[in-house]
């Protein structure tokens, strides 16, 4: 029965994707991408992936829309026609769709408990999470402990993207010398929008609180560092939109943000090296305390904190890089 609702959502997804590709206004395409991500998050939730739904909603529908809008403010808003090889592209796309649809007939039935993906390693993780790590959220256990090395690589990817954007877009803000004209309203955020300012300032502490809740409850329910980083970054971006970018830089200056970006990855690596220094392997949390299970808890909380700090720092650095670029 639930699957029928899933099919309804899939139809909406396909319609939204078609609308995104066909719309000529890039602003409309970006907002439709936010709707697409939200529908995708609902679909993930129907398919029992609660953590992934939360991440897709926070990062795909929230942060990604802000980044695209920031880039749109610096480039043009309208697309100018399409390229010359449309027919060839349509042909390639149609043929590939038919081939992939033909290949899907070989896939195991949706929800089959005997499918190969449910056996082997996945079942081993589900069995051994209560014994070895003893936290309820199996996804956090696998992400933080069993596959902690992959998550370390992911933190480094986020870190690299952050410093990449800072290299590309930060060079000009160092030479900014214009005075902030008090009559120049767009520089001061949305100061003349009274209702969003009042409601926003009321809500920002609660958004922070929710971000902290998601960060530290990643062990017990859907949550974790990535979602929390996106939510806290969204709170600060809301403050920057309402009060102006200069105010937000006064609250969290760029130097602090750069410390956050590097500090989170450093914390993660430090936990791993501490495991080595205490006699275990790299990223072995069992040696961090006298009881191996308590050690696992400590390790997972510390690395999730590192992940959350880096994601917050990177998303805010990217936002400020885009926002500072437009003022020349």
């Amino acid at each position: 029965m639930i699957i029928l609702f899933g099919i309804f959502l899939l139809t909406l997804l396909v319609i939204t994707a078609l609308a995104i590709v066909r719309s000529e206004s890039l602003f409309a395409a970006v907002i439709l991408t936010g709707i697409f991500s939200l529908l995708m998050a609902a679909n993930f939730f129907l398919l029992d992936a609660a953590d992934v739904a939360l991440t897709e909603a926070a990062i795909g529908a929230g942060i990604s829309t802000v980044l695209f809008l920031g880039a749109l403010a610096l480039t043009g808003e309208h697309e100018r026609g399409s390229s010359k090889n449309r027919m060839a592209a349509l042909g390639v796309v149609t043929i590939t769709t038919l081939i992939v649809i033909y290949a899907t007939f070989d896939k195991p039935r949706l929800g089959d408990p005997d499918a190969p993906v449910q056996q082997h390693v996945g079942a081993w993780y589900l069995e051994n999470t209560p014994k070895l790590i003893d936290i309820p959220n199996a996804v956090t256990a696998v992400l933080g402990s069993f596959r902690g090395y992959d998550t370390l690589g992911e933190v480094f990817v986020v870190f690299t993207a952050g410093i990449g954007v800072l290299f590309l877009l930060s060079a000009r803000s160092a030479g900014r010398t214009e005075e902030i004209d008090p009559a120049n309203v767009p520089n001061r955020g949305l100061r003349h929008y009274l209702v969003p300012r009042v409601v926003g300032r009321m809500l920002i502490p609660f958004i922070f609180l929710f971000g902290l809740y998601v960060q530290f409850h990643g062990d017990y329910g859907p949550g974790g560092g990535f979602q929390a980083g996106a939510i806290v970054a969204a709170a600060v971006i809301l403050y920057a939109l309402l009060e102006g970018e200069a105010e937000a830089l006064r609250v969290l200056p760029l130097s602090v943000l750069k410390w956050l970006v590097a500090g989170g990855a450093l914390l993660y690596g430090a936990v791993g090296v501490t495991g080595m220094l205490l006699g275990g392997n790299f990223l072995d949390y069992s040696v961090l305390a006298s009881d191996p299970i308590v050690g696992q808890h400590i390790g997972i909380i510390l690395i999730e904190l590192g992940v959350g700090i880096t994601v917050t720092g990177v998303l805010l650095c990217v936002f400020h890089a885009f926002a500072a670029r437009g003022k020349v």
Partner: protein
């Protein structure tokens, strides 16, 4: 008793669905931006109250009900703010509200 709660929650959910439909229909068929914002805001407020009320009845007296009440409060605070911000942005960028009656047969200006 449980049956009464079930029926009541079904009624609330269906009514919420009807209001979502009305809001969506209004957002499509209204002639200009401001009337469309007004129609779409129906979805954020009336339909949200009815649907979340229906789900709260289904959840009974558990922690989930308190979380749903918090979500409802958050929605009721932010959605009208978003509509207000949208209308303010439209006024400040020059989209004029319509003046005078709408002639029969015109769907947009």
């Amino acid at each position: 008793m449980a049956l009464a709660i079930d029926i009541l929650s079904w009624v609330l959910l269906s009514l919420g669905g009807v209001f979502v439909f009305i809001g969506g229909l209004g957002a499509l068929r209204m002639p200009n931006l401001y009337t469309r914002i007004h129609a779409a805001s129906l979805t954020d407020t009336m339909a949200a109250v009815l649907i979340i009320g229906g789900i709260m009845l289904q959840a009974g007296l558990t922690l989930a009900t308190i979380k749903l009440a918090a979500i409802l409060l958050f929605l009721l605070l932010t959605s009208p703010t978003a509509s207000n911000a949208l209308a303010s942005a439209a006024i400040l960028s020059g989209v004029q509200p319509d003046e005078g009656p709408i002639e029969r047969g015109r769907t947009s200006r």
